[in-house]
Symmetry: C4
Subunit: 284 residues, 4 copies
């Protein structure tokens, strides 16, 4: 049960050498430990959330009627502020390229582009909701090694289960294709199954138990096949859940491993001081 | 695997000093051990259930037509009875403030307010269904330490899994925001996706596999993205289930109880022969 | 981890004393070990399935048009045959009363009553589908101790989890009542939420993620509350699944218990001959 | 915990004796180890995926309008190519009959038949989507013993859980029959429940939480029974998931592999220090 030593923590960045203001701003912007760094982070999160709120509310017809210009101005103010922040980040970091191509660097860049893009492509400004990803920083601000550890376990579990999940998804897609074609043959365009791609969309709607009801079988044979598809889909829910639960249990058990120096027995409780198998003292 | 020693049992209340009738009524109202106390509890539960039934049935047009006045009178009778009971509780308890701000104190108060409020705000009387929470007392009446223990395990499990669940909910909300905005762009107001908030409502309907079908994608691209959203939602069901199952299994394994004859430590593993706290042999 | 010694096997029945034909028929009807007993069981199952098929097909308008009389005659033939079989069972068993009030005795009786009842109450003949329960006998015919063992594990798991499940169901019903009343207040009769009972029906449809779409929220506030209801319902799926998985895992682990005579370590693999903790020979 | 030694690997095929080109082609077609074999496999997968794409896109009215003849020609080209490949496989393998009746032999045959069949039966050409099963070969190409091992675990889990699953499915079908007949009686043809089979289709739609909404209860009693059906269906999701998770956890625990240096026995528990088969010390 060897577990790959893997960290979800972002790569290590260093302050740019040279002027002292760079080092100071580097600590304010990239640091999360001292009051100035934490204050900057909290303000940043609030601004990001406000900017998302503006974008979202801008699409509500009732609100846009009266607040049209306010939303437009706010949106540009937020974008300019984020652009300034992005440029500042580039200036204070030692290797700007490394930062830009890190996960949060990409997100920071993508978070400002849609507004500029909207000058050329109408509607693209709504893509700024990608800013939501910036909020993930919050886990770093909270600085809870606890959270990092938990996310690590979830991530390691997904990683360990990836082969099982890949096999599972291949099976699902094959079933969707075969059931989709079958229902296209049985029900036909007259009952809403106008093409195999649409039939496959319906098969996914059905197997995932979503069941919109925008397309439904009308022939008795179609309803019989649908019953089988639903029972298969229902049974299949068990598979990823079971995989994940079993892997997570294994992961959690592997985490708490102290072994008895005398008899080698493991899986001792967190507060055990003596081996439950032979009574020898445990080393911690 | 250190577990916080946590109890879901309500805080300890003491009878008011002074007149003997107070002590007697305190035991009847707050006690669950002797026949008078149990009889009071059983009657109380029945009255609560009747009062909820009256409120619920009062909204059925066919019944209200003929029983309008009866329902109205009953509702006020129940409310006056509960008010009297609440006042009595305040009178016989030593520290009324402590009782009012306890969980059941708040519920007892909220259970009578809506009816009085309905004199000023039409419709608010239906909020009396909050009385349902009063029925939770039933677990205390049953006085099954069993139940308290079980609820403890469920609660401790949720508590232990809270970091994992918080990470999970953040992920879901981020996905809902991004998918919602994407579908708003793809489908547009013409196909029912009239705003991003409404699109997000639709994304939640879809990811939770509820699938009302009041809003559905009509463009091929929208149906393709919807297929991905559904498969993601379907896979994600696995996560909370897996988290809960794994944590519960760990909790249950830690719980199974043999107590050390030397130091009294409990919660030994199923195959432990020696106390993990002091190394003394366990009796089975 | 003491498990109640519980058996799902039916109670022991003895042949009636007296005439030899009774003992012979008892073994044919109630026995499943020798060829005549097995042959009787197989024929019985086939006849039951045919009778259910007739009842089900009788409701299909296209088929009833032409086969009306055939279905009617067949239904009565089946009923008379089952009646004769029931009387025969009563005659060959030692204590008929004990048989009648056993699970399968009740089912055998209920399986013939609806047809007779249909002489007085129109439509009641469709209740003969209760005959489906008679088919459960098939597990006895297969005589797989395997199956009995497996059903035992599933049953013991449900039994052990019953307190947790009861707490869980109380919580669900309380949530359904409160959310139902809330949505009745928010959406009102104009949007399909015509009464609290109907609102509660909708709340169950939504929380179980069924989502028919016959009633849907139309106000923004209603859609917001619905989003919360769905997320709650979605999270709650985790609870019974987790309970069942964890209990089943514990049950399965308890089943395979051989303990080392030297060090007491348990949970040895099925083919282990030596303790994995201390190397001592295991006794089986 | 005796586990049947079972392999999902395909049966061993040998090259036909005689001409050297046969042995060479056998290695190209059936081998996955050397560059020529891998190249053949990759091309084959790509051709299969293209052929499926053609079939699927052929059903989209917008595309068929312009590409009708191209799709028709491509379809026949693919079919002729697959036919040639199938004949070649038969020629180079030692025992063609054994190949034809193996899983992949059957799939290879069924993958070409529908196109020929479409000369006689209109529409049958869409059955070529069965070619999707040929893509499963991809797991062999990837030659990841990892994948084979993982699929083995999933398969062994399903195999071990088959009794539990059979009991579960019988229960579901019995419930569907009884609830279907009940709703037919309660709601009747006027509300869409036109026959018991259709009622059973609805019961499956409801119990699997799909909930299309094409048929919904309209009477209060029907809605009450539906609420019970949904809660039952919702609770029942827990059962297969729990079964699968618990079995998978047991399977995974049994699998984790350290092998005994003395007797070669594997699948020791995670904390084993001595071989359970011969008692020799294990090296870690």
């Amino acid at each position: 049960m060897k577990r790959p030593a893997r960290r979800t923590l972002p790569l290590h960045l260093e302050p740019a050498s040279g002027a002292a203001w760079r080092a100071r701003w580097f600590h304010i912007i990239f640091g999360h430990d001292d009051p100035p760094g934490r204050r900057f982070d909290v303000i940043l999160i609030l601004v990001i959330l406000s900017s998302i709120a503006v974008t979202v509310l801008d699409t509500v017809a009732e609100l846009r009627a009266g607040w049209n210009i306010a939303f437009y101005v706010l949106e540009w103010l937020f974008t300019l502020a984020f652009t300034a922040e992005f440029v500042l980040r580039l200036m204070v970091v030692k290797r700007p390229g490394r930062y830009v191509f890190s996960f949060f660097g990409m997100v920071d860049l993508l978070a400002v582009l849609p507004t500029y893009l909207s000058l050329f492509v109408v509607g693209s400004q709504y893509l700024v909701v990608i800013r939501a990803l910036r909020v993930l920083r919050i886990f770093r601000i909270l600085k809870l090694t606890q959270y990092v550890g938990e996310a690590d376990i979830l991530w390691a579990t997904l990683l360990r289960a990836r082969h099982k999940i890949l096999i599972f998804i291949s099976t699902i897609l094959t079933l969707v294709l075969i059931f989709g074609a079958l229902m296209y043959l049985i029900e036909g365009p007259g009952n809403g199954f106008t093409s195999i791609p649409r039939s496959m969309y319906w098969a996914i709607v059905t197997m995932t138990t979503v069941g919109f009801g925008d397309i439904t079988p009308h022939t008795p044979l179609g309803q019989f096949v649908t019953s089988i598809i639903m029972l298969v889909g229902y049974s299949i829910i068990a598979v990823p859940t079971g995989i994940f639960a079993a892997e997570l249990a294994a992961e959690m058990r592997a985490k708490q491993g102290v072994y008895c120096p005398a008899c080698g027995l493991g899986e001792h409780a967190g507060d055990a001081r003596f081996c439950r198998g032979c009574g020898a003292a445990l080393k911690r």
